[in-house]
């Protein structure tokens, strides 16, 4: 009975400990075991600090204790700085003393392999037995910036006064994570909590993210992630963030093959497949960042508070060129630059000079210098247009007095409208100081270049859209289907289900399949063909012959009884020629399908994420172009709809070039049902492939043409 059943741990005391023990505190304050105590003292940590080291009686002016047992009180947090081999014992003593949290800085665990893996497993067990919340091992440390609680080592801990703020960050890499903190802080980001998770023997990245979402003083959650060991909770955590209106900005790495290689060797995490991470991010509104600049720009735009109702952006510019650049970049970030209403364009024609533009992007021109009120009027017209969800105002290099005047106009507009107003202003700080201070006081986001303005606004818009999707989803039911028979059948199957068995299983979850019968004789084949109706396909059914066509074990378009009879003998002969020892279940007599689009659908039951549904068009689309989309289960109707529209080849289904549109409703339902199947069979199913999934024109439904199911036991 090692595992103790407990409530999810509150991490409040970890970030705000009343006292900290420093186990292995050193008097060499440049060393890794010397730095943490010094940083705690220097950054003004107000709780008690207890150095623990039998070699000293005093460290940095503080009394030093020979052991954890000798401490005068039970600290909330123990920093563990000793060599790996001695960590399990120290952790046990922490547990015995009732210390709730331990941050293990020491390296030499799973990241080194071999003995280190065993040592880490020991940590896990001790932590469980004594219910100690472990951060690390192999961890650079953590910060509570406003609380002056800097528990760790390295260059970032030496920065004298980091700006405190509403961003909490969790990182799986100490070196890189703290570099991001240092750079982002320089760019104006204020941090609340920062924590490095190291090898995650105890508290995971997602647990920290969850804590930050609950934390009332955190407004944005940021993270550097190589792989999530509890990835299956990602969607739930992300949905809580949507409900709490706290964006999660993740720097997810390990996509590239060499990157993945390094991710595995660097942490002891399993890297989940990139496609499932992307699917999960899309499903729960996680925003990805790829540089410090986009991180800090997103923080800026989110702290503004406003969020747009839709993707339509109006651009109002003093420079025509900047308007063109901005329109291009809006479109590149999948924002829309809609035409304004005829009434708005008419009003703008009266306001804007002839050499400007009354259309979106609206170019008010440098004439603003002669007539600053023009900007006010133009902005009002644009902000009142129903097609506009947010505004980008571009003021080029305007500086000095005129800059301050324009800033006031923009601030007035911002107060008057609920729509987000983002400013692109390129003047140097010293030349437009008054204007910049005014905008910054109002938290109106401003950026020096169009790319940055558009990228930030796109992030804001994506998050707002994810929140709307999430709210809509709350009203959508999850389709659940239970089939005890299917569960038992699959659990009993120790391998692969071939076409016929797999399709019967699909049918049990309401997924239509081609009409077919499994027969054992030539006479049965002919009789069956008569029942199903010509033309007919014959296929040999054998788990030993997965690629039937290559084995010559398929005949198509058989027009009459004579052809069926002859083909029956041929396919069996071919199959035995191909593999004389093949165990053959019979011959499948199947209707021929015409007039359908061939799609491919399936399920993967991922070790990290759990079951997910896949969809794409058949043949080269899926196999060569990798044009498929994934969603984690449960897949509700709205998500099924979204994933179908998410493949590049979607126009083929929608009815490109005057062809009939496909039955999208039936396709959505089939994907929902695949999700229900995957959830019901989760313990035993590893993989489902429906290929082809025939999609008929609207009203015609779908039909699984062939299928294959691999069980976990396989």
């Amino acid at each position: 009975m090692e595992a103790v059943t407990r409530m999810p741990r509150s991490l409040e005391r970890l970030f705000d400990p009343r006292s900290v023990a420093v186990i292995g505190a050193s008097q060499d304050f440049a060393s890794i075991s010397g730095q943490p105590l010094l940083h705690l003292k220097n950054h003004g940590y107000r709780g008690a600090i207890y150095p623990v080291n039998p070699r000293y009686t005093e460290v940095a002016g503080l009394p030093c204790y020979p052991s954890v047992a000798a401490l005068p009180a039970v600290p909330d947090l123990a920093l563990v700085l000793i060599s790996a081999a001695r960590v399990p014992d120290a952790l046990r003593r922490c547990g015995e003393r009732g210390i709730p949290f331990a941050l293990v800085v020491s390296s030499g665990f799973a990241e080194t392999g071999g003995e280190g893996v065993r040592l880490q497993q020991e940590l896990v067990e001790i932590a469980r037995r004594y219910d100690v919340g472990v951060v690390g091992p192999n961890c650079q440390g953590m910060m509570n910036v406003a609380g002056g609680m800097y528990a760790g080592f390295g260059a970032a801990f030496q920065i004298p006064a980091l700006r405190a703020g509403p961003v909490s960050l969790v990182t799986q890499s100490g070196g890189f994570g703290y570099a991001v903190v240092s750079l982002a802080e320089e760019a104006g980001v204020g941090f609340r909590h920062v924590v490095c998770t190291g090898n995650e023997a105890g508290i995971s990245t997602l647990e920290f993210v969850s804590h930050f979402i609950e934390d009332p003083h955190t407004q944005l959650v940021a993270g550097y992630v190589e792989g999530l060991k509890d990835a299956r909770h990602l969607i739930r955590v992300g949905e809580r963030a949507l409900a709490a209106n706290k964006p999660i900005l993740l720097w997810k790495v390990g996509d590239s093959e060499p990157g993945r290689r390094a991710a595995v060797s660097h942490t002891a995490n399993l890297g989940g497949p990139a496609e499932l991470y992307r699917a999960a991010f899309r499903q729960c509104g996680v925003l990805e960042v790829h540089d410090v600049q986009d991180l800090s720009d997103l923080v800026c735009v989110f702290l503004y508070g406003k969020q747009p109702r839709g993707r339509g952006v109006a651009i109002v510019t003093l420079s025509g060129g900047a308007g063109v650049v901005t329109a291009d970049q809006c479109v590149a970030f999948e924002l829309e630059v809609p035409a304004l209403s005829a009434a708005s364009e008419q009003r703008l024609t009266e306001i804007v000079p002839a050499f400007g533009s009354a259309r979106n992007p609206v170019d008010v021109t440098g004439n603003i210098f002669n007539d600053p009120a023009m900007l006010r009027e133009a902005l009002r017209v644009v902000a009142d247009d129903e097609r506009v969800d947010s505004l980008i105002v571009i003021t080029a290099l305007v500086q000095g007095k005129m800059a301050a005047e324009l800033a006031r106009e923009i601030a007035d507009l911002d107060r008057a409208t609920a729509k987000p107003v983002v400013v692109c202003w390129s003047a140097r700080n010293e030349l437009a100081a008054e204007a910049y201070v005014l905008l910054d006081e109002r938290r109106i986001p401003r950026f020096k270049t169009p790319l940055r303005a558009c990228r930030a606004l796109a992030g804001l818009t994506d998050f707002a859209e994810a929140r709307r999707r999430h709210a809509a989803r709350a009203g959508e039911r999850v389709r659940r289907i239970e089939s005890r028979h299917a569960r038992e059948q699959l659990a009993a199957t120790g391998g692969i289900l071939g076409e016929h068995a797999a399709k019967r299983l699909l049918a049990a979850y309401g997924i239509p399949v081609t009409r077919e019968e499994l027969v054992q004789t030539r006479e049965q084949a002919v009789a069956s063909a008569r029942r199903i109706g010509f033309p007919i396909a014959l296929k040999v059914c054998s788990a030993d012959i997965p690629h039937k066509t290559e084995a010559g074990a398929v005949r198509l378009a058989l027009a009459n009884e004579a052809e069926v009879g002859a083909a029956y003998d041929e396919v069996l002969a071919s199959a035995y020629r191909f593999d004389p020892r093949a165990r053959i279940d019979g011959v499948l007599v199947q209707e021929m399908v015409t007039g359908a689009i061939e799609a491919i659908a399936g399920v993967v039951n991922d070790a990290l994420f759990g079951p997910a549904v896949m969809f794409g068009l058949g043949g080269v689309f899926a196999e060569v172009l990798r044009d498929v989309s994934f969603r984690l289960c449960p897949v509700r109707r709205g998500e099924a709809c979204d994933m179908i529209r998410g493949v590049r080849a979607y126009p083929v289904l929608a009815g490109a070039h005057g062809k009939a549109p496909a039955d999208l409703g039936a396709l959505e339902e089939a994907l929902e049902r695949l999700s229900a199947l995957a959830l019901d069979l989760e313990p035993s199913v590893a993989e489902v492939d429906v290929n082809p999934l025939f999609v008929f024109p609207k009203g015609g439904g779908v039909k699984a043409g062939d299928a294959l199911i691999r069980t976990r036991a396989a």
Copy 2:
């Protein structure tokens, strides 16, 4: 006889005038007509300045002249600041006086439409008649930074001391272009010449680019481009830049629909199609930028001087996490992160600690603090590896003394190897000042984040590769085919060439077509089918029925003479039912093609770029996924090869999933021949569509299955 035949104008005197007349100089120095004279004086322009204005005798302490005729000498440059209506007269007087260059700041020309268009045309004619090199109109001005020659107005002209340097920039937008100059200069870029081209009534953007390539003091050329009026010279200019080893960095806008709309209304340029710009950039190594940061980062990496031999990057990092990030981003920018040789990995295993990584990305870990020599050894091993073409060294937040030591190691390595070494160093400027100064003195490029390091290195690598491609191309002959008969035939055709005629034209340029005969009777059809061999296809041939299948005017897979005879009557009947007045040329008796991949190829003869060749796979690939590639003519063998590999569906041709690879050699030759056709027929051809172009397995060649040619007269 208006147009004067002349040599390409040297622009040296424009950027370095010995004297400047300021026509319309104002005493209101805040106004657009007052600023330029003040800027010339304030920035230390050393030539003579002649204000011209009949209302004053003195401006800013300089004698003011009543007219151009009254000037004491002939200036090299006239700045024209008067109202649009008076500009033609002033330009004529400049011409009469023999002034070689005029920069027209005034607005109110083509950008306003109507009368402005006429006025601009007048400027063009006067400029031609008197051989005046006109910059603008509607132009914010130009700068020779080192020469203190600031001829223009606006905030950028008021910056006291712009850094002089080796970057020359041409911009079609004054407001945006000068914002880029201001921001880039702040980021460390030094400029040589900057010019705004405005409406380009005279000197074009490409003429300025050409001048900068020839200019010995320019090392990099930058540009903001909405559309090039002389786009057909782009490739030639780009190739000169490759030969001169001077990268062209272009910010090309107007891609998005709303962007395009604005580009047309903003300048008076025609926007060429985005695809042809991209094709041209690829063909001649132009690098695109999308933000000021990538522009300034590229400048930094190019001024370094080294260029890599290939795309293989070795990453050496102190932080495992940063290594993963960097590997991901290398791959995102299409750089490679190859495995090192076994020997290198073995050597590194001896150098790097166990919790690091001896594989690429090589993680030397923070252990470097205990053993700085380790970095030196690791770097040498990596730099000597033949699979490595360039190195990214990541030093995270290392600061102070250790930073200086690492910088010295990096500088030593840089001296010892010909391979580029790019540094990613995130420490704050004040904390690693000594290290940064050392690297900067050696011009070793350093960036604060992995994204910036990878993006810059990718630009350097792309340019080096374009130079190698260009050098290889010099040895490739351009296939030229002349067919006087085809030229005459096409020139005489006032419309569209249908299948049979178009394919005979293709055949004249050596492009294989399906075996086929045009017949006029049922008996001829049967006889023809016998000659060609069964199965046979029949198609009605009529320019009035371009979509034959829809009209029921096609029958496929006719197996024998009886079927051909019957089908002959049917297709004709269907055709007449479809359009009773259709003029029918006959019925095409054609071989049936099987076992080929259907591709699509073609020619567009663009108004701006001239002829270009297109290639893609057939059906949805081209039509729905827009998965096609373009190259401007002439298309040499290497480019044909490159454009085939440039479509996403290329694996289908290369032999995906065990299928036979297609005859790529024959396909390349067909594209070369299409290019030869396009060049030979350039005056009369508008469009060629070969759809399908059958591509047979290797050795089987290609065959045009259907074709259509539109003439310019159509």
